[in-house]
Amino acid sequence: MVNAWKVVREIARGAAITSRHFFVNMTFHTLRLFGVKTKRRGAVTIQYPEVRKELSPRHRSLHRLRPREDGRPSCVACMLCVTVCPSECISVEAAEDPDPEIQKVPARFVIDLSRCCFCGFCVEACPVDAIRMDTGEIRLAATERSALELPLDKP
């Protein structure tokens, strides 16, 4: 008998919790619908494509090559990022640079985004701080494979 009473009480408690959420949220939804400003919202949902949550400053998003003052990429084609990349998605072809201070530039710097695992090792490995993952771009979906090849040497 005691057990049955406990069951009934717990059932009622569960219904009370969910209906409390329902009525409280409905109140805030209704107030907002009629233009009343409330501190709380009826839902915690962020309506993604229209509303964006701010990314953490450490967030690793789409790669970029930091440019020099003259606009050319600051990469020196040392191949350290290619070596360290665990998913082997970076391919760099070096070329000679007329400036003897620089010596090498990438003729081709392509990242295969379909392979990239966004570990950020390339950023860590770069001796001249050329590659960075701070663009904040996280919408990387594409309808064909070729669109996932990111040529970073083109400015």
Binding site: I11, G14, A15, I17, T18, S19, H21, F22, N25, M26, H29, G42, A43, V44, T45, Q47
Partner: protein
Amino acid sequence: MVADVLIILVKVVLTLMWTLLLALFLTWVERKQSAVMQDRIGANRASVFGLRLFGLFQPFADAIKMLFKEDFTPSFAQRTLHWLAPMFSFFFVAVTMVAVPFGDTVRLFGRRIPLQVVDLNAALLFVLAMLSLGIYGILISGWASSNRFALIGSLRGAAQLISTEVALGLSLVGLVMVFPSLSLARIVEFQGGLLFGVLPKWGIFLQPLGFVVFYLAGMAETKRVPFDMPEGESEIIGFYTEYGGLKFGLFMFTDFLEVIVLSALATTLFFGGWQVPWLGDGGFVFPWGAGIKVAPWGVTVLRVLSFNSKVLFFCWLQILTRWTYPRFRYDQVMDLGWKVLVPLGVVNILATGLVLAAR
């Protein structure tokens, strides 16, 4: 004669439309209500020309999606039965609505038209019989799928529905003893009186235990989440595994129809149907002596609104239940059916009989 047939036809069409539209929008209500209960927003993207209306077009989008899916029958299934099963399960639930009174009578063109498709004199038995026949939809779908898992699922469903059907029948015996009629229209009329001169004479006040048993057994009858043993859409394989597209949609739709039927029955039998508390044919007469005059058409509108709002409340309550409680274990469903609800139903009959005899 022709006019009578026409009236019946119009009433059938209106009742069907009411039921189907309500079921269609219950899919939306279920998604939105569960979302609000869980601090989410729910379906709000479906739009017509940029008009979103809180995602109110979502049911139509879902229906169109279902329509354009392939009407697939597995090669190993038994074609005719496989095609027939969803119709069975849909038809027997939808047909119960003909016995439900939506309001009292209206006077139109010098005729008195009861707002009920047919006033069967054994409506209660008819409703119970039709709900029982719904089991065949489940059994046939499992059998025709020629899939062992589907068959086991349908057997689980049959076992669950039979064990709760007994309790469902028993819970209504007490009600029939109090309101001596099997016709739903008569039962609603009986509930128009007053209890102790104050309370409306609704079934819930005369048969509280009967209502609890009825509601629990009815919830089990709808095969929705706390009792979704036959189907178990999240992990166990249910009886409509081999169905897709519109036929699957029909099974899903049946669940919502059952929610409506249970709501309509609970309203009609235990919450006064179309009765508004203290509203007579001439207007409100309150127990403390005051009164408000209401025109006859106003009375009819109020009564129809009363029925509809009670039905909507029960739909809300069932969706709340569905999104609050986890599923029962199989043996717990059986225990609830045979060891709790059936004895409680018998106790209810005995208590009702004792009270009636002592009076």
